[in-house]
């Protein structure tokens, strides 16, 4: 129909009387790093949650290659190729690094109980392990395989969160504020990882409220303010866009 890769179409989300996201539409092209930014309370995270299946939108649709994914539960969205990460370092802290990534391989190597009891899943287990190690190597975590995820450094935990998502072999990875609490050095390394991830063929949509981190990273940027689309374009356009500057510096025009 629309022919777009990931198409967010007239999304609306109301919480009681509050309209958190109001008629939002934008398109994410395949192979892009797409940023969704805006001041606090702009509705970025709500949008993000609707795309990932965490919320069911009040109206509107999200389509991936013309298949509707909005309104599906999160695991169904994941199975259709859109996998999210979480804010902060949401990991299986009590499990080893390898086990964390092995959970990520769940979709490609669907475990079976009977096969597990009779030992018929040796091939799947080997495949899952190879896939997991591949993802760990990609993010430079192969040396920490046996460590508990909770004991990794902050930067490594973030990378592990992305490794878990990558192990699922998604078409799109949704990153929720990946730079929060990172020092400049860690931010730089994280950006390199994202470029690498994009070059491996995965489309990235990230939510971030830090303008600076996103400028050097994104191919395309969507700016939201008060639940609405404010501007869209490349980093240069956005940087000089008068509405964006005003929204971030706090002009009076967009209030209410």
């Amino acid at each position: 129909m629309s022919g777009h890769f990931l198409h967010i179409d007239k999304l609306v989300m109301r919480f009681g009387g509050l309209t958190a996201v109001d008629n939002l539409s934008f398109v994410v092209e395949q192979g892009a790093i797409h940023g969704l930014i805006g001041p606090n309370g702009a509705g970025k995270t709500t949008t993000f949650n609707m795309i990932s299946g965490f919320y069911r939108p009040t109206s509107g649709t999200v389509r991936l290659r013309d298949g509707v994914i909005s309104g599906l539960p999160m695991h169904e969205v994941a199975r259709r190729g859109v996998v999210r990460t979480f804010q902060h370092s949401t990991l299986f802290a009590e499990l080893s690094v390898l086990d964390n990534v092995l959970v990520g391989t769940h979709m490609n190597f669907r475990p079976g109980i009977a096969a597990a009891i009779f030992g018929l899943d040796a091939e799947d287990r080997r495949g899952a392990r190879a896939r997991a190690e591949e993802a760990l190597e990609f993010f430079g975590l192969l040396d920490f395989t046996g460590e508990l995820a909770g004991e990794l450094s902050h930067g490594h935990q973030r990378a592990l969160g992305m490794a878990v998502a990558m192990a699922a072999q998604p078409d799109v990875i949704l990153l929720d504020e990946p730079f929060t609490g990172m020092n400049p050095e860690e931010t730089k390394r994280m950006m390199e990882l994202m470029f690498k991830l994009r070059d491996s063929g995965i489309t990235i949509l990230l939510v971030e409220h830090d303008m600076h981190a996103i400028m050097g990273l994104c191919d395309r940027i969507t700016v939201m303010s008060f639940g609405k689309l404010l501007a869209e374009g490349g980093p240069q356009e956005i940087r000089t866009h008068p509405d964006v500057i005003e929204a971030y510096l706090g002009g009076g025009r967009h209030v209410a």
Binding site: A78, V83, F86, H106, F109, A116, I117, D143, S153, A168
Partner: protein, 343 residues
């Protein structure tokens, strides 16, 4: 290689011990041993349920479902007892599946209370309906296991020793199956659902389906333990599966610890031995709930990770000694890892 040998030797030693054990005991102790074997299966199945993070208060009633079902199948329908035991376990699986629809709309504390309510409803149904459940008096004269001659040993199932061997075989096989499940990718998914259900979901795990699966498997083995019990004691009633036994199961699990496979089993064995050997000898057995309560409080205060943490501590000290030897040889893997952590 020597490690594998010592492993096999350890298991063989345990097997010999378990086979020889009843012959060193008095008749009443042999009976207790049968109950203990059945309870090991019950508490191990309970741990399988807790893997997904949900604690149920209806587990003992599910055990009762297996007991009632197997008793009725053999008594009313004349089904051969070993078959009825398996059917009893399957009935428990089925009941668990039906219960999972309302119960897994809830999590945590709400699930706990919901499971208690569901269990009480089932128990009240047994009490209310004299036909076929026998009302408050329950079912009596349940068909025993038929005698069996397998050449090397002829089973007379009125003898506790015979029934113990039978139960031991069933329980061992069940534990092996549960161990295989826990050690498989399915078991990993159970853990994942427990620790971060949202993250598991984002990796495509159908969290509710996995909770249901764990609940059904655990209920199947609980039902199996119930069926084993029913055909041994020959009479069951709704109060055989009341909340008091459930509290014992919880106590075994908490005192033993639930982080490892063997924790709850350890708790069950240690507390049962304590109960039967010490309290019964001293004539204190009526005080079992009191003693159990005291033990529970003490273990929460002084041994929060359960008896298993004591075992782990000993094991770790042993491996640390080995690791120290290895690191002196200069090939400690851990060292290499830490070196590369530096930015």
């Amino acid at each position: 290689m020597p490690r594998a040998v010592s492993h096999i030797a350890g298991w063989l030693g345990l097997a010999v011990l378990l086979i020889a054990l009843p012959h060193a005991l008095s008749f009443s102790q042999q009976e207790v041993l049968v109950f203990l074997t059945i309870n090991v299966l019950l508490v191990a199945s309970y741990r399988l349920l807790t893997l997904t993070g949900e604690w149920s208060l209806g587990h003992v009633v599910i055990m009762g479902v297996g007991a009632y079902a197997s008793a009725l199948y053999s008594k009313q329908l004349g089904i051969y007892v070993p078959v009825s035991i398996i059917l009893g376990a399957l009935t428990a699986v089925l009941v668990a599946m039906v219960l999972s629809y309302p119960l897994f709309r809830m999590k945590g504390f709400y699930f706990l209370i919901g499971s208690f309510a569901a269990g009480e409803i089932i128990r009240l149904l047994w009490k209310r309906f004299r036909d076929p459940f026998g009302g408050p008096k329950g079912i009596k004269k349940i068909n025993p296991m038929p005698d069996l001659d397998i050449g090397v040993y002829s089973f007379d199932f009125f003898e506790p020793v015979s029934y113990y061997y039978f139960a031991l075989a069933v329980v061992t096989l069940s534990l092996w199956v549960m161990w295989r499940i826990e050690r498989s990718p399915v078991g990993l998914t159970f853990h994942a659902v427990h620790w971060q259900d949202k993250l598991a979901q984002s990796a495509g795990v159908d969290v509710r389906a996995y909770r249901t699966r764990a609940f059904m498997i655990a209920s199947g083995f609980a039902g199996l333990s119930g069926a084993l019990l029913a055909h041994y004691i020959g009479t069951i009633n709704p109060n055989s599966f009341d909340v008091e036994l459930m509290v014992f199961v919880l106590t075994w699990a908490i005192v033993g610890g639930t982080a490892t496979f063997y924790g709850p089993i350890l708790g069950c064995v240690v507390l049962s031995i304590l109960n039967e050997v010490v309290l019964r000898e001293l004539g204190f057995e009526q005080m079992r709930p009191f003693i159990y309560g005291l033990l529970l409080i003490c273990s929460v205060l002084f041994l929060p990770n359960g008896l298993e943490s004591v075992v782990q501590h000993i094991m770790r000290r042993r491996t640390n000694v080995q690791a120290a030897k290895a690191s002196r040889a200069g090939d400690s893997a851990r060292y290499n890892v830490e070196e590369r952590t530096e930015p």
